[in-house]
Symmetry: C2
Subunit: 431 residues, 2 copies
Amino acid sequence: MNLDNVKGTRDIAGEDAVLRRRVIETLQRVYEKYGFQPFFTPVLENAEVLKTKISDEMLGLIYEFEDKAERKIGLRYDLTIGLARFAASNQTPMPFKRYQIDRAWRYESPQAGRYREFWQADIDILGVESAKADAECLACVSEALESIGIKNFKIRVNSRKLLDEVAKSAGLQEREKGKAFQIIDKMDKIGKREVEKQLQAALGKEKAGKFLASLTGKSEKSGKTKRSTDDLDDLRKYASMYGISGKIEQDAMLVRGLAYYTGLIFEIVFDGKGKEGKRQSIAGGGRYDDIIEKLSGKKIAATGISIGLDRVCEILKGKGREGKERGEGESRAEGEGSYGASKSITKYYLIPISEEQRGYAIDVLKDLRKKGFNADIALLDRGPGKSLEYASKLGIPFTILIGKEEQKQKKVKVKDMRTGEENLVSVKDLK
Amino acid sequence: MNLDNVKGTRDIAGEDAVLRRRVIETLQRVYEKYGFQPFFTPVLENAEVLKTKISDEMLGLIYEFEDKAERKIGLRYDLTIGLARFAASNQTPMPFKRYQIDRAWRYESPQAGRYREFWQADIDILGVESAKADAECLACVSEALESIGIKNFKIRVNSRKLLDEVAKSAGLQEREKGKAFQIIDKMDKIGKREVEKQLQAALGKEKAGKFLASLTGKSEKSGKTKRSTDDLDDLRKYASMYGISGKIEQDAMLVRGLAYYTGLIFEIVFDGKGKEGKRQSIAGGGRYDDIIEKLSGKKIAATGISIGLDRVCEILKGKGREGKERGEGESRAEGEGSYGASKSITKYYLIPISEEQRGYAIDVLKDLRKKGFNADIALLDRGPGKSLEYASKLGIPFTILIGKEEQKQKKVKVKDMRTGEENLVSVKDLK
């Protein structure tokens, strides 16, 4: 039988699962500290809702099918669609702040770090038009990233309103505008020269020049080196109150999925040093004040940001590897940057030397668990050597050997698996 | 547009989401304390794997479809199938202990507390034949249930091996055996008299009588009042070491999905007092030593147990309501049985009296969050009255009003939303 995973999906086990568990737990803690509420929406949505023109590009990527009663349903392609449907069909006190850390599905070509079944960690605020909400989201996501050990990042911001103004002042038609935005959106991938070339092909030389100049703020009209709009000014003001101004960079070239956003847009870029190398996008978001209205006619302002959890875990895994290569891995297991380093969620592994000691070993085990320690016990009848090997493979830091003598003395022999050091200690002194 | 949820699915928001979040967190903590590792398998599996004859009844319930490349795939119907596929296709140190708290899908008739998209909280141990593994699972799940506030439960156990022996000693043919087991499995629903009637219809009067007598241990042959097998005896021995014997009841009538299990089987039954009324099954599991072999030819012993998370949350919600009716809800918010009582995940809600105080209010907010408190701030320009109303609706226990005077004195006015009591305190004294 073919036991491969479905294309674009995977199992997450061992160290990778421990890392992911810790990342999710930390993100939850920070999100909740910022007043975002837990929230769960279904994986399955009606196709009609999924296909509401939230994003043209997305239509071809939806996992869609019929259930046994021929209802057209599908798997959600992001966590926002369920939120929007919920807000459109329920009365809920506003503002509604919620987070979701969960899966979504897109039928894309799988690549390194990109899966068809993928995880996102979203925060959103509904019901607030002001940039206060955007600043709150950005402050939260900044602390969340720092808390999982990603510190070297920038928050690129721009505004759809500014982009529209620029296009208008360069005399672009609606159709030209769409094309022009698609082209500048590729700046990171294709470079400035190619963007210029493509813009000239799409708009003609004169318009392209005017558009680019206006975009970068060098037009005669603007008078400033950087163009701005009210929403960007407000965001700057509130970001400064939150103390995150240093992370924020205005980027006139930032576009992000045109069909979706209505005002401020964000992209968080991780500046990888060492092996991860290049800048990579790890989160994105912005204002989507029109989506709920499109679903239901109810106008509800909305903003939010979404961390790509798979990407972030890949980066942390790389950091862990680097740390280990620099010899930092083990000693930093509890502290900063520990996410990639610590391999096991279990602290103690108990090994009764023979079956006669099992009863006493289980007493020790119960005691450890009562104290809140993650502790496990050998369940197979194999020699202590094999059990030690097993604990080592799993990366469990301490083993506890329990023989006749230990039982008699009401003690245990603790072995530090990293140093090999052994100590005879009283059960009550275990910590 | 039809904004209904897909049939059998639902959104979980507000108090329900807070409750679920706490339950999941507690289960994770206990599972990890027992050495079960985090583990994530995909929602999507290949149809061929899903349809491996793990359980006949399940075949008709699978959400199955073709992806855009006409691959036959489907949504998992439980969390065990991904685990079994993983173990069949990967080398992993044995024993492999893992937990998963996640969703699965079955095309069943939705009922109160039963959804087509549902949650399970599983622990499993692969690679251990002995009842040591079963006892470890039962000890873990007992503590997990107690930790979320469910104490009034029994663990019914039985063994497939015993059932087979009984059927043999009553002279049942293979086909008769299947029928007979299906009938006694309905004991809880249809009662003893009806079981007897149906058994007589299926087996004839004489065989039915022999079978029932043998099942309940009253046969001449057995000589004991309760029949047993080695695996049941072992389970009793280890359960006693773990101190959970008092929770365990042997139930000769327990069958649980014949096609699946090979040895010991378990069912945890909650004994509802008050409104929840009747006994309800909240978890089930057992030995499935053959599944991985069916997938891959690799023989790997396996046992596990799965808590029905939706059912358990419903029970806790009911307990919360009851507690409130008895006037316990609020005062017990932090302690035992608090799962249904505490409505909000946010502790403090900050309300700047006017926009001039926003900067100072955000300073207070940053300070609270730095201390680890869950704190939120009013983001809409509406009067303090409306903001207080909002905090009350969300069940936030404390509001903090910040006006000119407070700012000048570097203080804040804290309002206990339950008692209405207000206190002027220094920011540094907030706790």
